[in-house]
Amino acid sequence: MQKKINASIDAICRHVIGKQEQVTLAFSCLLANGHLLIEDLPGMGKTTLSHALANVLGLQFSRIQFTSDLLPADMLGVNIFDSNEQAFKFHPGPIFNQLVLADEINRASPKTQSALLEAMEEKQVSLDGQTHSLPSPFFVIGTQNPMHQSGTYPLPESQLDRFLMRIQLGYPDWQAEKLMLSSAQSKTEKALSAVMQLSEFSQAQQAAAQIHSSDAVIDYILRLVTYSRESGKFPNPLSPRASKALLQASRAWAYIHGRDYLVPEDVQAVLPAVAEHRLRSSLTDLHGQGSLSHQLLEAVDPLAA
């Protein structure tokens, strides 16, 4: 199983060059059964990454480009009267896929955003009194463009924390980009083939959820969230949902790294991705002081009794 996971990550990395850490984080996000938010400028490989993830795991994939005039129905689907059967028939929208890429999520109206977030949380869609289950597994990868905010609806904090992780891809380094350019023609054409079966992936998910977490590590997580609440340095302290997310994500990270127990390093590795978007008050002050999650990390000793 371990081999399969490593092989999947390697496959994605060959596709999204030079982003080992972000890829691993994204993979562990899915492994922890959480939704992912990718925040970056256009052209950094957000879509490529989503595609690669879907392909490697063999998931049905759809992409919804969010615009200000996108209606919930465009995404969820509609009931249409079928004259043959003399009844309404549900036509599922693009959301009925295992992995949905919600591109530029902040361009859509709040109404559409809430519809998506509700679907993410409930894993089902309610329409005209009928409930339609979404496929399993169901992941949403949302992307946001932190620049060019005019005419957008940034996600409110209460909705941001529906995403387990938020990652930033950033510019590739010199070597990686050179490699990418030189091998551009040959690689992008080739679609990735599935490395893992879906059943294997859900097994891995279950195994990851059972990673042993000792009191020492749980205490560490508690100290982190308590510090964010009591020190007064953070405008938005971490909620219990956040501490739960932190534990889940750490477990997935430990599982990927072939351990059956948690160490503080796991928590530290996922903390920026899990906590940063929860600690910030909104997208707008993203460019303020340094990273809040790093401040939090440095303030708490993993050993202290």
Binding site: A216, Y261, V263, A305
Partner: protein
């Protein structure tokens, strides 16, 4: 490694240290003070980052060696106690230069607290006590700053204050209950040369008698106060005169020692009305005490501590190094002894064979004129009244035949001149006479006690006649009667009063009612301080306990002290118990923490947020392969027990041996 720049706790500690050292400047050698100053300046420059690096350990070792040798050389003159205090200050100064880690810091703080206690050996006045209390508070504050550098000063001060208040009841109980032990060391005795009376008087040598406004003693009376003219406080009797200088007769000193060895104390027969009073004497580094004539010790305790000799002088059995409290009862109507032993007659008629020819001539004429003793004395007194004598604190020096010069040429002087001249005259006339030095007068405060200051020092004489025995005569009173009735201030000319007291002393301003009140208020506070705080000795303690708990046997007293100590220990245990209990963590965890400590001693510090595995990698980058491998194994043990729920029993021996391996390897790496 402690950060030196902008480290307020170290700066505060250095400040306390230099203030403490300066407060003891009379006891500390000057070169050691310079060393202290150097250390302070060094810390100051480090604090403000004018200079970045600490001095090398090797340099300081050399400095320590040299200072140690120098101190050893000086210690022969200093005596044990002073050399020890000097050693402590010197060592602290060197340590301050060296201060590198937490242990140094804590050590230095503890030493400063001890030094503060040493300060009380030398000074116990209220001002010094306040000063030392302040130093103690600042030391505690510096500790607080050290352990919580991020907090605000106000929070820290508040926390410190609360802790001190919590400790205060314990301090009070200890003060009240613990046995008071006497000093175990020899007190330095060179101090006190400028205060108090000396036991020799050479009137002719003194051109200016400047007098200090320091307190000599206080007397608290039960009932009525004595009249101003009765306030002759006897201190020293001088019987030996060589033509210039009066001093205690060596024969008298020898006799005194003999009586003391034979334990045959002189007890005067007393009768008539009496004054009972308690005297709180300031330290004099002498043995003599002060009392009105004729005095006997009052109460069993004073009886034990006080020795009386045949010249009615009172002595303390111990030298007065600190404030001494005693009770006396004086009988002003009792005459001094009227029998004169042959020894006393011999001593009190002794006079030099040569010198002062004019006085000799005058006396032999006068004696022929008045063969009766009483009339002769009256004639001598009349001489002082009829001639144009003047009281001054600035007499001219009289080196050759001082009595002649004083009586016939200058005719101006202060009490010692008059007393010396009259005693000499009477001795020439065959009447036993002696000089008595002590204090006269004193200032009555509202609460019924008399404060006697150094400027109240006085000298008078006693002469013996067959009919009346020893009688006090005060020739100064004949010349300047106000001196006796209203005190020194009233007989001084403008320029004379310049000589009394320190330039800034409040006594100089006693003409202004406001200042006078302030001075009296301060005197009251000081009185309460010495009476209730410094005066709280073994006996007062026992009295208090007896009043509270009834009759006390030695055994019960012992149980009480032991019980108090145990009680306080129990309180402390209550405080520390949670911390002791918490240390039931697995062996591997403790071993790992010890390993961290060892590494930090060798300069490899774990940044607070670095988890074990990552730190182990860091160590392998920084240290030798051996250290890295051992530490990696320790880390693995730690991770297994802390995070993995691994069984610990298997590794029990491992952790210990790994630790000792680590110690050895670190040493190897260091060398």
């Amino acid at each position: 490694m402690l950060k030196a720049a902008r480290n307020s706790s170290i700066l505060l500690l250095s400040g306390c240290f230099i203030a403490l050292s300066v407060s003891m400047f009379t006891e500390i050698l000057s070169w050691i003070l310079i060393l202290v100053l150097c250390a302070f300046v060094m810390r100051l420059t480090l604090y403000f980052e004018w200079h970045k690096s600490l001095p090398k350990v090797r340099t300081l070792n050399l400095l320590a060696l040299l200072s140690g040798l120098a101190l050893a050389w000086f210690s022969f003159q200093l005596g044990l106690l002073l050399s020890m205090v000097n050693l402590l200050v010197m060592a602290s100064a060197l340590k301050l230069m060296l201060l590198r880690n937490q242990r140094d810091f804590l050590q230095l703080v503890a030493t400063q607290v001890f030094l503060t206690a040493c300060g009380f050996i030398f000074e116990q006045s209220i001002a010094y006590s306040l000063f030392y209390t302040a130093i103690c508070l600042l030391l505690l504050l510096s500790l607080a700053v050290y352990f919580a550098p991020g907090l605000q000063w106000r929070t820290l001060s508040k926390k410190t204050a609360i802790m001190i208040l919590q400790a205060a009841p314990i301090a009070v109980v200890l003060f009240l209950v613990l046995p008071k032990l006497g000093p175990l060391w020899q007190m330095p005795s060179q101090r006190g040369t400028e205060t108090g009376l000396s036991d020799t008087v050479t009137p002719g040598d003194i051109a200016e008698l400047s007098r200090s406004a320091k307190l000599a003693f206080r007397a608290t009376f039960e009932g009525a106060l004595p009249q101003p003219q009765e306030r002759y406080w006897r201190a020293v009797v001088m019987e030996h005169f060589d033509g210039k200088t009066w001093q205690t007769h060596p024969t008298r000193v020898a006799a005194r020692r003999q009586y003391l060895n034979a334990n045959a104390e002189f007890t005067p027969d007393v009768s008539g009305r009496s004054y009972r009073y308690q005297v709180i004497a300031e330290p004099t580094s002498q043995r003599y005490l002060f009392a009105l004539d004729v005095a006997i010790p009052d109460g069993s305790r004073s009886n034990r501590q006080i020795w009386q000799d045949h010249s009615y002088q009172l002595f303390s059995r111990d030298i007065l190094h600190s404030t001494f409290v005693y009770n006396v009862r004086s009988f002003p109507e009792t005459a001094l002894d009227d029998t004169l032993f042959s020894l006393e007659r011999r001593l009190n008629l002794q006079r030099p064979d040569k010198g002062n020819p004019r006085t000799r001539e005058w006396i032999s004429e006068l004696r022929q004129q008045f063969p009766v003793d009483a009339e002769f004395i009256r004639a001598v007194q009349r001489f002082f009244v009829e001639q144009d004598f003047r009281y001054t604190l600035q007499p001219e020096t009289m080196q050759e035949n001082p009595v002649d010069q004083f009586l016939f040429d200058k005719q101006a002087g202060f009490c010692a001149h008059y007393a010396s001249a009259m005693a000499y005259a009477l001795r020439l006339g065959g009447i036993p006479a002696r000089m008595v030095a002590g204090y006269q007068g004193g200032e009555v405060d509202n609460d019924g006690y008399i404060s006697v200051y150094q400027y109240d020092a006085h000298a008078w004489i006693e002469a013996w006649t067959e009919q009346r025995g020893w009688v006090r005569y005060d020739p100064t009173a004949l010349v300047a009667p106000n001196r006796v009735m209203f005190g020194l201030q009233n007989v001084l000319s403008e320029e004379d009063s310049e000589l009394v007291g320190e330039p800034l002393s409040l006594a100089r301003l006693s003409a202004f009612p406001l200042f006078n009140q302030l001075r009296l208020l301060l005197a009251d506070i000081d009185y309460a301080w010495s009476r209730w705080f410094l005066g709280f000795d073994q006996q007062s303690q026992r009295d208090m306990l007896r009043e509270l708990l009834g009759e006390l046997s030695v055994q019960r007293l012992m149980w009480l002290s032991v019980g108090t100590l145990l009680g306080i220990m129990a309180l402390l245990a209550l405080f520390f118990l949670p911390r002791w209990q918490r240390d039931t963590r697995p062996r591997e965890v403790k071993a790992y923490e010890t390993a961290l400590m060892l590494l930090s001693k060798h300069g490899i510090e774990r940044t607070a947020h670095i988890p074990p595995e990552t730190f182990s990698k860091e160590v392998s980058r920084l240290c030798s392969a051996g250290v890295a491998a051992t530490f990696a194994r320790l880390t693995r043990l730690y991770i297994n027990t802390q995070y993995r729920n691994g069984s610990s029993a298997v590794h029990e021996r491992d952790a210990k041996t790994l630790l000792s391996d680590l110690r050895r390897q670190l040493k190897q790496q260091a060398s």
